[in-house]
């Protein structure tokens, strides 16, 4: 069943699959080729100058130990996003195995054999070409194999910084909880690693007579594979778009843009962590984001109006277990104190303070409550404890902190916060299994991720935010015995955004404007 589905998925997405595979091969080989150009001579050099070897091996060893995500992160301020930082990072990873194996391969040769070569009258180059490289060849090839396998693996992360590759499927699949999509990326990349390793193992054990032939083959293959990356690349468009892997695969994401707006903007895939900054740095013009993200404010971005309503509303409201409401009768009233009090721009501002100004969520929560005249000093607590959950991002931390303060200020209940519960599934399961009593959830998430309604239901209930809220409220009560309290007010929906300046220059205020501009 699953197999069948995966196969269907791969067939249905075959053009993307082919493109991502080519990009993946390209990324792997360009970086490998560059690494060969540098690492081979460097390895040879330190084999001749043993004094330099600890230094060179040390540095490349340190590069190797930097976690790949962090290395990509370091690359962004220096090189931006796209193929350049990705290839640079992969290049750095490939250095160590090649340098080290070249070095050990050459220094491991019996010194008397090198001496014999010199005694026969060979010069430095002849000793290198006729004796050292052929004898070290299997070891050097082993290093190249290691580097290749590492690079195939690390290249999946290139999808985080808009450099493409099979990571697009993998991370999209993880974000969307789609096993098929994960496998559609993971299986080809694993096969690619195995295949390349196998091919290189053939080269490694090749008859020494064919050595020269094989040596010439390696750069040729590299160049051929390299070109695959650039041929598969996206062509230039008037505006460059970058979407998160999750957005790429959602019906209320890129798929909706395509089907409802007929907007085919050929986006690159990029991680949420670097996307906003990339837009600010003009590396990207249109990005997918969340409506109340603090970085909207930090980077002076504006939201394009979703005039055809493809993004369902994501109104936040406390999701509480019915049992908890019975156990703590005073709870519902206290939690509803926040209802309707925080609109989009206030929430954006609060997020901005936490995510960008690095104020603590507690501080930001208290400041807001004081200003909104909701703050009360904590009352002496009794024996009962309410457990609050939150997902693992700033906005949820702020809301959890506010609820904690409101409970302590207005009731005699204790508060226990279990924040940072990963994604939606983890948080929701914690609630279902009675590990927490409530957490802030979004109507859109409740609808799409937790309820999985049919297509017809979906289009019916996303017409207005009222209908979405009523639908999830009713369904959750029925299926999960949980209650959606009153919405807090803001709508943290998906949105397309642009730089404020560009949006006004091009007069693009809505997604339809964007479509019109691109069609001109």
């Amino acid at each position: 069943m699953e197999q069948q589905n995966l196969w269907q998925f791969m067939i249905q997405q075959h053009d993307k699959l082919i493109q991502q595979t080519l990009e993946h091969i390209g990324l792997t080989f360009i970086s490998l080729f560059l690494a060969l150009l540098i690492a081979l001579p460097l390895g040879i050099w330190i084999a001749r100058k043993p004094a330099a070897s600890p230094f060179v091996l040390g540095i490349s060893g340190v590069l190797q130990t930097i976690p790949s995500i962090a290395l990509l992160g370091f690359m962004i301020p220096l090189l931006g996003i796209g193929w350049l930082p990705a290839i640079t990072a992969l290049f750095l990873y490939a250095l160590l195995p090649i340098i080290r194996n070249t070095y050990t391969g050459i220094t491991g040769i019996d010194p008397s054999i090198k001496e014999a070569a010199v005694a026969m009258g060979m010069n430095h180059w002849q000793v290198l070409w006729k004796i050292e490289l052929p004898l070290a060849f299997p070891v050097i090839m082993a290093g190249i194999r290691t580097a290749t396998v590492i690079n195939v693996g690390v290249a999946t992360l290139a999808a985080y910084i808009a450099a493409g590759g099979l990571g697009e499927f993998i991370f999209g699949g993880i974000a969307l909880n789609s096993v098929n999509m994960i496998l559609a990326g993971a299986i080809p990349s694993a096969l690619l690693a195995i295949l390349l390793d196998f091919l290189l193992s053939l080269v490694q054990h090749i008859d020494l007579k064919k050595l020269r032939f094989a040596l010439w083959l390696i750069p040729l293959i590299c160049i051929a594979a390299t070109s695959s990356y650039f041929f598969s690349g996206t062509q230039d468009l008037k505006l460059k778009a970058g979407f998160t892997p999750e957005f790429m695969g959602r019906t209320d994401g890129d798929l909706g843009l395509k089907s409802i707006y007929k907007l085919d903007i050929k986006p690159v895939v990029i991680s949420d962590a670097v996307m906003y900054k990339a837009a600010f740095d003009k590396k990207l013009d249109v990005i997918s984001g969340y409506g109340t993200d603090g970085r909207l404010k930090a980077y002076n971005l504006v939201i394009l109006k979703d005039d055809k309503k493809i993004f369902p509303p994501y109104y936040a409201a406390p999701l509480v277990r019915n049992e908890a409401l019975i156990k703590f009768p005073e709870l519902e009233k206290v939690l509803n104190l926040l209802a309707g009090r925080i609109n989009d721009s206030i929430m954006t501002d609060l997020n901005y303070r936490v995510d960008y100004l690095h104020q603590s969520p507690q501080q930001v929560a208290k400041d807001f409550l004081v200003k909104a005249k909701l703050w009360r000093n904590p009352l002496p607590a009794g024996s009962q404890t309410v457990r609050i959950g939150s997902k693992i991002f700033g906005e949820q931390y702020i809301l959890a902190a506010m609820y904690g303060m409101l409970i302590r200020g207005n009731t005699r209940l204790n508060v226990y916060s279990k924040t940072g519960l990963g994604g939606t599934q983890i948080c929701f399961n914690a609630l279902k299994n009675n590990e927490i009593d409530f957490y802030p959830e979004y109507t859109g998430t409740g609808l799409l991720v937790l309820l999985h309604p049919s297509k017809q239901t979906l289009s019916r209930v996303t017409k207005s935010n009222g209908s979405t809220y009523n639908f999830v409220k009713q369904e959750f009560d029925k299926t999960f015995q949980m209650k959606w309290l009153k919405p807090i007010g803001f709508n943290n929906t998906y949105a397309l955004m642009m730089r404020r300046q560009q949006s006004s220059e091009l007069q693009i205020q809505s997604i339809s404007d964007l479509k019109r501009y691109l069609d001109q």
Binding site: D110, S112, I113, E115, A116, A117, V118, A119, M120, G121, M122, N123, Q126, I131, P134, L135, L208
Partner: protein
């Protein structure tokens, strides 16, 4: 011709070889003899600059090696390494062909030369031509090492214990064959060994070393009969008599041998080039016999045990 002047090599400020000088005429064989660690290999390697001396100079055919590129004169100098060190990724033929290839010989000539050398060194061109060194026995490897050094017909040959890995029987036969090879006839050779017998067999000149210095150099006779120090005589003591007999040709004793003889059962002709040891061997095996020796002038002399000993004693007295 090789001339070496005041070569010194220090390792960690301790001399491995100090202040060594010698000269070898064209076509001569010199043997470097000495105990293990006395600096023989170091000296040999300094001749073709495998080890660069800390001081001193080397002349090859009257040219100071400082004035030449080492790669150039190394190709004209055959070198046999103490630990053989064949190139493991080359076949036997490719190993032999290394220097001819560097010199740019054409393929047919190289192939022909490889075949020829394999045959001369008692290896089979069919069986051994295209196999790899690790498929050979130690002695076979050593012979390939020799062939590799000889391949490009160098005028100078430096050999570091080239027969070390051979059993006494193969060793003797190879040595005999080799000594007769055209390849060795007019070459200037330096041979390192610590085998005294071997040294006397092959040397025109022996250079005895101890702790990095030359203790005595000269002809085998000189070292044997006029030792310069107690070290030298001590060095040969164990085999003194054997060496003396082996090193004395009948030619040298010719003057003191009788021209007439009394009773003869068997007369065995021997060449004046044969040595005393061989003469005794023949007398022993054949029994009541007499040797008859004919010199280049056609004169005949006769020898039995007694007359040989007598002539040898007289000969030794003239040397002292």
């Amino acid at each position: 011709m090789i001339r070496v002047e005041k070569l010194t090599k220090l390792y960690n400020k301790i001399p491995a070889v100090s202040d060594i000088s010698f000269a070898i005429e064209k076509g001569q064989n010199m043997v470097l003899l000495g105990t293990s660690g006395c600096g023989k290999t170091t000296t040999l390697k300094m001749i073709n600059d495998l080890i660069h001396p800390d001081s001193g100079e080397v002349w090859l055919d009257e040219v100071n090696t400082h004035k030449m590129k080492p790669e150039v004169y190394r190709k004209k100098t055959g070198y046999v390494l103490q630990n053989i060190a064949l190139f493991p990724h080359f076949t036997v033929a490719e190993n032999i062909a290394v220097v001819p290839r560097l010199l740019g010989w054409d393929k047919d000539k190289i192939r022909h030369r490889c075949m020829e050398l394999l045959e001369k060194l008692h290896l089979s061109p069919d069986k051994h031509y295209s196999i790899y060194p690790h498929q050979l026995s130690g002695g076979q490897q050593q012979r390939v090492g020799l062939a590799r050094a000889l391949a490009a017909e160098p005028s100078i040959l430096l050999m570091d214990e080239p027969f070390g890995a051979l059993d006494p029987i193969t060793r003797a036969s190879i040595k005999k064959d080799i000594a007769q090879l055209d390849e060795f006839k007019d070459k200037t050779i330096v041979l390192v060994t610590h085998d005294v017998q071997e040294a006397f067999e092959l040397a025109d000149k022996i250079c005895l070393m101890d702790r990095g210095q030359i203790v005595q150099q000269g002809s085998p006779d000189e070292l044997l009969f006029k030792p310069a120090s107690a070290f030298v005589s001590g060095f040969f003591k164990e085999q003194q008599l054997l060496l003396e007999y082996q090193n004395t040709t009948l030619h040298k004793l010719f003057r003191w041998l009788p021209e007439t003889h009394t009773f003869v059962q068997d007369l065995i002709p021997v060449s004046p080039e044969e040595n005393l040891w061989q003469a005794f061997e023949k007398l022993n095996t054949i029994g009541k016999t007499l040797l008859v020796i004919k010199d280049s002038g056609g004169r005949l002399k006769y020898a039995d045990h007694g007359s040989l000993i007598h002539a040898f004693t007289t000969y030794k007295n003239t040397l002292a």
